[in-house]
Subunit: 140 residues, 2 copies
């Protein structure tokens, strides 16, 4: 068999080497077999799992959510209701975060536009921060 080193696994999955070891340490990835000299030797399935984790992390899923998703993936006969629920929850989070960021964006734009590039005592950036009541865009 080909032996996949941790560096190779990292390169193929897009997960960094220390992160691979970290995932093993928190049991998100099964401990792989070792070479004579105690070096990790991964299987192709490990690469897929790492890619799965990486993609899920990119989508902002938390490690515990990913743990659940991986458990589901490991047993394909289960109902996918949990997976669906996790994805939906994440979608709602993302939508909320976008709304909140849009509000921040508007507020930052007002601040930046209002800045006359003069001295601090006329600066709208400082002023708005000092007094939330001056915000044209209330949030939350």
């Amino acid at each position: 068999m080909k032996k996949i080193t941790i560096g190779e696994a990292a390169r193929r999955s897009g997960v960094k080497v220390p992160t691979v070891r970290y995932y093993e340490s928190i049991c998100l990835l099964a401990a792989p077999s070792r070479s004579e000299g105690n070096q990790r030797s991964f299987e192709p399935a490990d690469i897929s799992r790492l890619a799965f984790i990486r993609h899920a992390r990119e989508l902002g899923f938390e490690i515990e959510a990913i743990r659940t998703l991986l458990t589901l993936q490991d047993d394909p006969h289960q109902s996918c209701a949990s997976a669906d629920a996790i994805a939906k929850a994440r979608l709602i989070e993302v939508e909320q975060r976008i709304r909140s960021l849009m509000a921040l964006k508007a507020e930052l734009e007002t601040m930046v536009e209002g800045c006359g590039h003069g001295r601090v005592d006329q600066c709208r950036v400082i002023e708005v921060l000092a007094d939330h009541g001056q915000c044209t865009h209330a949030h939350h």
Copy 2:
């Protein structure tokens, strides 16, 4: 004089009690005077400063950026160019984050829509996570 306790300061500024102590510990807030019994006694100016910090944190500014903004606020004769630069940088960050979250939202929607609520082996949520190539929306 009225003595403002830490609890009162927290309530008025919207910053939690332990967080106020934390801000003091990292010198974002000057150490207030103490009562006979060693309890903190804040001034109205401290409340304003805490509110400033809180608002800036809500806008996503990092502590070090806030430290700079506070230094500027403390000396109103300085040019506000730094404040402007900090706000602009933050605006660019926020815009980037919004774009990235919109891409994630699209991907999550595809996943959730594709889920037939059956078993895991037909679940699009799991499938898409397992194989990034299936994403209809490439990001980054």
